[in-house]
């Protein structure tokens, strides 16, 4: 048994920290895109829009039914063989695309459940005063569904941050990629991966504090 090379780990901190912005960038962009896509998918499912509803069901089933890593490889290494305009797609874009698709499928199901949790009579009340489908979704149903779904969606965001580490398999040097490169040079795998693990842990812990605050706030304000 050898002792941990603490000094080496300490040296790695600024190196890995330098890649936090890229990791957060990928996670944030994917999260926003996935939220928008998921809301649309959920609405299609709830309103049972003909044909589209079937397409969305298959979409959700596929992206929930296959591993994220496989999906990323499909987008980055697979698809460009057929769609040649994708040949020069960079790893970051492919990762954001993959994360968006993957997590939108999960988030759509959460949002759908939250929408169905809004009492049906409120839909009817909105219809009865002459609101259109779009108005009642935007002003009555979705705001209430968002409150219900918020804690779950934050969980998916946390998963997404960790999911960005897979981008290193597409040749992206983000936090995980940087740790991998450092380790390959120093052969101190334990130290390098321990440092990167602690970074992910810290980021997620900070988010969890925010999540608990948000839940308290949501629980306090307004109503069921």
């Amino acid at each position: 048994m050898r002792p941990l090379d603490i000094a080496y780990m300490w040296d790695l901190v600024p190196v890995i920290a330098g890649y936090i912005p890229l990791t957060l960038f990928m996670a944030l962009v994917s999260m926003v895109a996935a939220l928008v896509l998921a809301a649309l998918l959920a609405i299609v499912r709830v309103l049972k829009i003909p044909v589209l509803d079937r397409v969305v069901a298959v979409f959700i089933s596929f992206f929930r039914g296959t591993p994220l890593l496989v999906q990323l490889f499909l987008f980055y290494y697979g698809l460009p063989q057929m769609l040649t305009f994708l040949t020069n797609i960079d790893g970051v874009t492919a990762a954001i695309f993959g994360l968006t698709m993957h997590f939108s499928a999960y988030m759509a199901e959460s949002i759908r459940g939250a929408i169905l949790g809004v009492d049906r009579s409120q839909w009817e009340a909105a219809q009865s005063i002459g609101m259109t489908q779009g108005q009642l979704l935007r002003r009555i149903v979705l705001p209430q569904a968002a409150r219900t779904a918020a804690p779950t969606l934050v969980n998916y965001f946390i998963d997404m941050i960790k999911g960005t580490s897979l981008a290193f398999t597409l040749g992206v040097t983000e936090m995980m990629g940087a740790a991998q490169k450092e380790a390959a040079g120093s052969f101190l795998y334990l130290e390098a991966f321990l440092v990167v693990a602690l970074f992910y842990w810290a980021i997620v812990e900070i988010l969890s504090v925010g999540q608990r605050r948000m839940e308290r706030h949501l629980g306090k304000a307004v109503a069921r």
């Binding site: 409120q122 009340a125 005063i129 108005q135 209430q144 109503a223």
Partner: protein, 246 residues
């Protein structure tokens, strides 16, 4: 007879079952009509068909200069009908994410496109009328059942609908709140608001209605002035029902 509201041959089926079997009903301007009858005879369905919460299968609904053929009603027809009718729900159905004031303003802002200050002013008036002048900022969860239903009525009043529809407005209320809600409806009735009210409150129906309609099996069995229906009903089914409800 000049009908402001004319319902002709209204039919509604759920699956294969006809719940409304050809309803004809004419309301004169300012007329207040109460619908009574046993449970499951289509009273609520009739109200829900009139604003297409349940789209009717056949028949014609005319409100003022708007006439809609149920069989070929477009989305625009449906919205137009809803904008001319106010609906009060048995279970209040308030928007949980909006305050009492916002519940009342919602239709004015989104449907009527009123500027916000104007809608706020109107909401203030209505809150006074429904006796909740000081509760405008309360969310529904902070209001009693009676207060919630008064907001529900206020929301429907805000639209100045030609026809107000009350679907068993006191049936879900604890007995202690029934009185205040009936008082409010009575005041609206006193203002000669054209209304159709489905109710189990026979005494109330007798007081406020110009006409009582007795329904059974998806049909109108008998109708007439309250004194006639409650005192001297012609049809045995009406008499049997009135004996049961006391």
């Amino acid at each position: 007879m000049s009908c402001e509201i004319d319902i002709a041959g209204l039919v509604k089926r759920f699956g294969g079952n006809a719940v409304l079997n050809g309803i004809d009903l004419c309301l004169k301007p300012g007329e207040r009509v109460a619908i009574i009858g046993p449970s499951g005879t289509g009273k609520s369905t009739l109200l829900r068909c009139l604003n297409f919460l349940d789209p009717p299968d056949e028949g014609r609904i005319t409100i003022g200069d708007l006439s809609v053929d149920a069989a070929r009603a477009s989305r625009a027809d449906m919205l137009a009908l809803r904008r001319r009718t106010g609906f009060v729900f048995q279970n209040y159905a308030l928007f949980a994410n909006k305050t009492a004031r916002e519940n009342i303003m919602e239709g004015l802002i989104t449907v009527r496109n009123w500027p916000k200050p104007k809608a706020e002013e109107r909401a203030r008036e209505i809150l006074q009328q429904i006796g909740l002048g000081d509760r405008g900022d309360s969310y529904p969860s902070a209001l009693s059942g009676g207060q919630q239903q008064r907001v529900g009525i206020g929301r429907a009043m805000a639209l100045d609908a030609e026809l107000m529809l009350f679907d068993e407005p006191t049936s879900a209320l604890d007995p202690e709140w029934v009185g205040e809600v009936l008082d409010l409806i009575r005041r609206i009735a006193d203002g000669r608001q054209t209304m159709l009210i489905v109710t189990h409150e026979m005494q109330f129906a007798r007081e406020i209605a110009d006409r009582i309609v007795f329904m059974e099996g998806g049909r109108i069995v008998e109708q007439g002035p309250p004194a006639q229906i409650f005192g001297n009903a012609r049809d045995e089914r009406t008499r049997a029902f009135l004996r049961r409800v006391g």
